[in-house]
């Protein structure tokens, strides 16, 4: 059980776009970091620990995350760490650091410019390098394997998947940061060709460039916040086997376990932000977390409407917190995923006073 109550006191994100043509990562991050700190009422020097999440394979440069520190102001040296993962895991590390009592506030940020390379192929590099990666299965094809297994096992129809896409895109119409903000109805979507059967374009996320930042605080540091504090009541992450062949791709036991450990079932859930880049994954995640029909899932539009790599998971936590802070509910679940076919999953339970 956590010994210190940690609150989200600031959240900012860039608009997700297919291609940030002229700004580099530092230039994208700077206004976002300033905005998150402004909401938190903290200046750079007040921040106890800084943790970032990104992937050097997106930039094609070793140690690309180090140059991103220019955006933070890291001299004289600051307490800083980086995870080669989605920013949601950076937030987890920051949360652990706050639990140790060594810091009272944390700046968490994530950035990803997928447009610099060929994203589906870049993602192949995360697979087993001896027997899987040399075959070059791209990320969409792997998700399609999972979707096929899921449809066959559960009797879910391609129409059900199209309904997920339709609802996500429609929700995104009210989210100015989202990338895909309009949708034809499910009937029309179903008439479009397969991308990789059984997935059509609407079943897959857009390729996005973007960044986001969250500020965490405990104790007196919470009082400076201009944002209504949203408390992290539980947070946990679990991982499944790397080899796809040894997993049951139709369920998500790691999400289920993380959800139990984070305490999802301990109270009513008003809304959930699920990091489901593919339509069938939202259905798998809903089931793993036991979210019923009364839960507003992905009111932001989710990853189907904007999916900046290494950022979209952190954005789920930020979106859920911002909605609670704005009065959309009292209790929310945020989820982040990483790896092929929902390999790793993080679940976070948020509450407003």
């Amino acid at each position: 059980m956590p010994s210190r109550d940690v609150a989200i006191v600031g959240f900012a994100q860039s608009a997700s776009v297919r291609r940030e043509a002229s700004r580099n990562e530092v230039e994208m991050l700077m206004p976002i970091l300033q905005e998150a700190k402004r909401q938190a009422g903290l200046r750079g020097r007040d921040i106890g620990v800084t943790v970032s999440g990104s992937c050097d394979y997106l930039a094609g440069q070793p140690f690309a995350f180090v140059s991103a520190l220019d955006a933070v102001g890291a001299w004289p040296p600051i307490v800083e760490s980086h995870v080669e993962m989605d920013g949601a895991w950076a937030l987890y590390e920051a949360w652990v650091k706050l639990q140790t009592g060594e810091a009272d506030s944390a700046l968490v940020y994530a950035f990803g410019k997928s447009s610099m390379g060929d994203l589906p192929e870049v993602l192949t590099i995360q697979l087993d390098p001896y027997t899987t990666a040399p075959l070059w299965p791209d990320a969409v094809s792997l998700a399609a394997l999972q979707a096929r297994a899921y449809l066959e096992k559960t009797g879910t129809s391609e129409r059900d998947l199209a309904e997920v896409a339709f609802r996500s895109r429609r929700a995104a119409a009210a989210n100015p940061k989202a990338q895909v903000r309009t949708s034809a109805d499910a009937e029309t979507l179903l008439a479009t060709p397969y991308l990789v059967s059984p997935l059509r374009a609407h079943d897959c996320p857009p390729i996005s460039d973007g960044c986001a930042a969250i500020v965490l605080a405990c104790g007196d540091a919470v009082k400076k916040s201009a944002m209504t504090p949203v408390w992290i009541r539980g947070i946990d992450h679990r991982i499944e086997a790397h080899a796809l062949g040894v997993r049951d791709l139709t369920t998500s036991p790691s999400t289920k376990l993380a959800g139990e450990k984070a305490g999802v079932g301990k109270g009513r859930v008003d809304l959930a932000e699920l990091h489901a880049p593919f339509t069938h994954q939202e259905l798998i995640l809903r089931e793993a977390l036991g979210l019923g029909a009364g839960v507003d899932v992905n009111p932001s539009g989710g990853a189907l409407a904007a999916n900046p790599m290494m950022v979209a998971g952190l954005v789920r936590i930020g979106e859920a917190a911002a909605r609670l802070a704005g009065g959309a509910g009292k209790r929310a679940v945020a989820h982040a995923t990483s790896g092929p076919c929902l390999q790793q999953n993080l679940v976070c339970v948020l509450e407003r006073d």
């Binding site: 940030e20 043509a21 002229s22 700004r23 580099n24 530092v26 230039e27 700077m30 970091l33 300033q34 750079g44 394979y57 930039a59 094609g60 140059s67 520190l69 220019d70 955006a71 933070v72 102001g73 890291a74 001299w75 410019k113 447009s115 610099m116 390379g117 060929d118 192929e121 870049v122 590099i125 390098p129 001896y130 990666a133 040399p134």
Partner: protein
Amino acid sequence: MSEITNIVTPIRLDYTYTAGHATQRFLLGMAEGRILGQRCPECAKVYVPPRGACPKCGVPTTDEVEVTGKGTVTTFCIVRIPSDVLSVPPPFTCAHVLLDGADLPFFALIQECDFDAVRMGMRVEAVWAPKAELAATFESIRYFRPIDEPDAPYETYKEHL
């Protein structure tokens, strides 16, 4: 059955690099034979080439500053192996040059002097490509060469080593 000790799995990924606004300004300056940097509004340090941010203060560097091609060698090394990227035959000297008015030394080749005559504090100037060959690349500055000025005192560059 023979034991597998080695496999080859070729990987090639292509990227389109984004220089960013600040670096783009610098590179466009190169095409005009100008050296453009940016000044931090908080600590007043001048970064050449600029990255758009002050890494010390974490704020955008918005004020553009032009500096001349004159500067001081802060540190150097003598290269005795052939380079894949530089067309100069070894031995040659690579240095960090702190341009006058700038707070960030950058990598430079020192030519038009004996390789072992290069020293810390040595005053140098940029030698540009002919006007017709100027382009939006750092290589518009071909190299730096010594100028007839007394060496800069250590105190003037000790913060930049």
